[in-house]
């Protein structure tokens, strides 16, 4: 059952929901997680298992002159050493649709491009031995000139980061230059009553999942097949790239999804360790495990793109946006991968959350000799929302309008179609703003704030499910679910919606249980793999609840329809007048009922003994135009959030004391309030970390100076403000049971809310992140808000 079944009468009606919408079920992973029995990739143990270590480059750009592994190979207990020559010429990327842009070798052959680039690998009897051998690998480098910022990389004559010639090190660009009703940004700017211009800079942070990257590989020499457990958000992409690199069919790689300890976008790229583990497993015949250290997580793995943005916004005499021009430069680091889709998104966010009838945005993703950046919670929405929102703040002041009222004049609403193709369906943007105003009492308090006291708002929108399928699939289908119902009425679910901790498996099980009128105990969710579960592109782009959830519902409805056709015939009623409620199949009109097990058994009898199979899939009916700068509707629905922050700034130290944070988020129907609240709180703390605490610091040679949790500040339990949440907004017509995303776009309003509050508190104009105490203090000094004693 696919997308075209939207009008099917078999879908359960909201008044019949039992599990969904309340706090009526627990996490299906609960027992394993609270008893320590949940197995993450680094917990998997096999007899005779070997342990691997990666050797990385200490230079940001260098030619590899020689690699001497002889000493390493002699260490007792070492079972193998790999370098770049042990892999073919295939490079690794992210999506299949742009596989030709793949640029990362599993291990560098001739050139390293950032401090932390993968050079060699060792496998040994234990971690200590592997590290000892790794330290004995002698690599001779010839340092090459390097570039670290977008401007350095784009300058005339700058050294090339990637060999396939990129103009000015621009890896890729996304351009949106269009307007509704034939308008152009150029023309609209000419008639503007006010134009606000600004330049902004944001910094690099890292996902810091509590579980570092880890994988285990086993090889069957008889069938030539590998089994791989990987801490990943995209098992099918892993399978695709492994098959490519090893030059075999994907039927040789069985990727099993273990529990994953956090992702946030950082596990979207197939890491060097996975290729090395597979090659070692093949050579030694033994299982091989790699577990990344926290330091490796910081220096070698993806992070959030730093951004330099030039933004111009044109307003009419009422302060309504009429056009926008902007140039975004993303610091992509040394490789593409998941960063490529991020570039496209970066252009998209310039259109949010306002009606921008004429837009001219160019987004470049620039290669530099720094740690590659990729997908990270928001896909640049956090960066773009900050920059564009600061413009709104300045413009409101310049035009003498209250900042919230000013924004309200231009925000999107239901039915708006933007020039880049976005079609806004369900939208409670205005309501979230009003709720934030009511909570903060902004209008009553704004003229009575003490010096150093501020209230600020962040107003953003986001996609609820990117249609990007990652691999080439029929109909751009990206989510599927299969359920089996056996003769005891037990429902087995195969859905690889990639639970990376957000609760996708539980959501799937609950949707299916509710649709079939059962309890969670009747639903058996099978540990998915690339062989047992149908294709699902993975946990990214806020798609799992919307897409995989819809696929689950459809699979259940597909099975339900088969049962109803049988029982309906038996009772002489139309099939779609039946319903599944409370372990019964019922017909309300005729007051008939049959226990679930009996109904299933009867249906199987009608089917000659065949088990009941429910097949569901969901794809977003759109095109790939968006990736070519042409209008297309990016997502089947959009979400809208308002964050509001009350804080005081210590005028002597720049320290912030955030004592109240309100968050209103339109996610349609909350499938489970506990889960939604958890995601919203997590988003607030994540956004707080981005705005204030976290920063990857580099020296002048591109080396990360704080690759550890002592000097990289992740917010702790003592850092969080009191939080008030509101998420009870109307359901979306297309979301599963009316739900939309909740957990990615929700990070975007935090930085603007905090920045705007600081602006109100101190009067400083904020053009950059982070807003740590030193940065705030310096801004206050430079802008004359505090005296300078020389």
């Amino acid at each position: 059952m696919n997308r075209d079944c939207d009008t099917s009468k078999y879908f359960k009606k909201p008044e019949d929901y039992r599990l969904i919408g309340g706090r009526n079920y627990v996490h299906i992973d609960a027992y394993e997680k609270v008893t320590g029995q949940a197995k993450y990739a680094g917990d998997i143990r096999f007899p005779n298992m070997l342990v691997g270590k990666i050797v990385v480059s200490p230079y940001s750009h260098a030619r590899i002159l020689s690699i001497d592994t002889s000493e390493a190979e002699k260490v007792p207990g070492v079972f193998g050493v790999l370098t770049g020559k042990d892999f073919g010429d295939e490079r690794v990327g992210n999506g299949e649709f742009n596989a030709e842009m793949a640029d990362k070798e599993p291990l560098c052959k001739t050139e390293v491009r950032f401090v932390g680039d993968d050079v060699a690998a060792v496998c040994a009897i234990d971690e200590f031995t592997a590290q000892k051998a790794a330290d004995l690998i002698k690599v001779e480098y010839e340092e090459l000139p390097a570039v670290y910022t977008c401007d350095e990389a784009m300058a005339e004559g700058a050294p090339q980061v990637q060999p396939n010639s990129h103009d000015h090190n621009i890896g890729m660009s996304a351009v949106h230059r269009c307007g509704n009703d034939g308008k152009t940004a150029e023309e609209e700017f000419k008639r503007a009553a006010h134009i606000e211009v600004g330049d902004f800079h944001t910094h690099r942070i890292q996902h810091v999942p509590m579980e570092t990257h880890a994988c285990v590989a086993k090889y069957d020499a008889v069938t030539g097949e590998w089994t791989v457990w990987n801490s990943t958000s995209m098992t099918y992409a892993d399978q695709f790239w492994l098959a490519k690199v090893f030059g075999v069919h994907e039927n040789k790689f069985h990727i099993i999804r273990p529990y994953v300890g956090g992702n946030f976008g950082g596990k979207a790229d197939t890491q060097a360790m996975v290729f090395c583990a597979c090659e070692f497993a093949r050579r030694t015949g033994r299982p091989v495990s790699f577990v990344g250290t926290r330091e490796e997580e910081f220096i070698s793995n993806r992070g959030r793109h730093p951004m330099d943005a030039h933004v111009e916004t044109a307003f009419d005499e009422n302060g309504v946006i009429i056009a926008k021009k902007s140039l975004h430069k993303l610091n992509g680091g040394a490789y593409g991968g998941s960063g490529i889709a991020t570039c496209h998104s970066c252009s998209l966010w310039a259109s949010f959350p306002y009606k921008v009838d004429a837009i001219d945005n160019v987004s470049h993703r620039v290669y530099t000799n720094t740690t590659p950046n990729g997908a990270m919670r928001g896909y640049t929405a956090c960066q773009v929302a900050f920059a564009h929102d600061m413009i709104m703040t300045s413009a409101a002041e310049a035009m003498g309008v209250d900042p919230v009222e000013f924004r309200k004049r231009s925000i999107v609403e239901t039915g708006y179609c933007s020039p880049i193709g976005i079609k806004v369906t369900s939208c409670a943007m205005r309501e979230t703003i009003d709720d934030a105003l009511a909570h903060t009492k902004w209008n009553e308090r704004k003229n009575n704030l003490k010096p150093g006291e501020g209230i600020g708002f962040g107003i953003t929108a986001f996609v609820s499910g990117t249609g990007f399928a990652l691999l080439e699939t029929p109909n751009q289908m990206s989510a599927c679910c299969t359920i089996r119902i056996n003769m005891r009425g037990i429902v087995t679910v195969y859905n690889n919606g990639h639970d990376v901790g957000q609760g996708a498996d539980t959501t799937s099980a609950a949707l299916i249980a509710d649709e079939l009128g059962l309890g969670m105990e009747d639903i058996k969710f099978m540990q998915p793999s690339t062989y047992n579960a149908p294709f699902d592109s993975g946990a990214y782009g806020s798609r799992v609840t919307f897409f995989s959830g819809n696929a689950s519902v459809r699979a259940a409805v597909d099975a339900k329809r088969q049962i109803f056709e049988c029982i309906g015939a038996k009772w002489g009623v139309l099939p779609y007048t039946l319903e599944c409620m409370d372990h019964q199949v019922i017909c309300r009109e005729e007051n008939l009922s049959m226990p679930w097990e009996e109904a299933v058994y009867y249906t199987m009898k009608c089917n000659g003994g065949d088990e009941i199979l429910g097949i569901g899939s969901y794809y977003h009916r759109t095109s790939n135009n968006q990736y070519h700068g042409k209008p297309s509707n990016y997502s089947p629905a959009y979400v809208f959030s308002t964050g509001a922050c009350h804080l005081t700034v210590d005028m002597e130290t720049g320290q912030l004391d955030i004592d109240d944070f309100f968050f209103g988020h339109d996610c349609g129907r909350a499938l489970n309030p506990d889960s939604v609240e958890g995601q919203l709180c997590g988003s607030i703390v994540s956004g707080l970390g981005y705005a204030v605490y976290e920063n990857c610091v580099y020296n002048e040679k591109g080396k990360n100076l704080n690759p550890g949790l002592r000097d990289y500040h992740v917010p702790t339990a003592l850092d969080i403000p009191p939080i008030t949440l509101k998420y009870d907004y109307p359901p979306d017509a297309e979301g599963p049971y009316g739900a939309k995303e909740c957990g990615e776009g929700t990070t975007a309003p935090i930085a603007p809310a905090i920045a705007n509050a600081i602006h109100v508190a101190t009067g400083i104009k904020i053009n950059s992140l982070p807003l740590d105490p030193e940065s705030v203090w310096r801004m206050m000094r430079e802008q004359g808000k505090i005296p300078v004693y020389n």
Partner: protein, 161 residues
């Protein structure tokens, strides 16, 4: 590498292991005893994922040499449930939806246990201080604090009952 026989109490049972001199308690638990409930997050005592209880105190097991726990009483997440019955802390973590990816959860619960054993009626600030050394990237801590509060109340009720 010099190995030594180390005898200690693990989750209430006397345990003897052969521990290398350069092994930390975290690796002893995970690799020698194959008890992977205690997690590895940073190996420098900053994230708290490896928190265990040693002689009643919450300790980062990544910073303890395996040979130094001779004679100690060690409790890990595997020791929270008794005879298959989940402890109040575990029950409340489930009820309050206090975990998402679950990776910080064992360490969080061990810090919570150490707190509640020593201070059965903690204030919210005391709860936050007790878990300050346990980093979480998923939940934003709010529901974790709620769960620990609820566990304290339940344990109080059980005591009085």
């Amino acid at each position: 590498m010099k190995k030594k026989i180390v005898t200690f109490t693990l989750n209430g049972e006397e345990t003897q292991v052969l521990a290398p001199a350069n092994m930390n308690l975290l690796d002893l638990l995970r690799n020698v005893l194959c008890m992977t409930g205690t997690k590895k997050g940073c190996e420098e005592g900053e994230c708290g994922a490896c928190t265990v209880m040693i002689n009643g105190r919450p300790i980062n097991s990544c910073l303890v040499l395996a040979q130094s726990i001779e004679g100690c009483e060690v409790t890990t997440v595997e020791g929270l449930a008794k005879d298959g019955v989940l402890s109040p802390i575990q029950k409340k973590f489930i009820e309050k939806w206090a975990f998402q990816c679950g990776y910080c959860t064992p360490g969080m619960m061990m810090s919570a246990k150490c707190l509640l054993d020593r201070n059965p009626h903690p204030t919210e600030l005391e709860i936050r201080e007790a878990i300050e050394g346990n980093l979480c990237r998923c939940t934003g801590y709010v529901k974790i604090v709620d769960a620990i509060k609820a566990a304290a109340e339940e344990m109080d009720w059980e005591e009085q009952a």
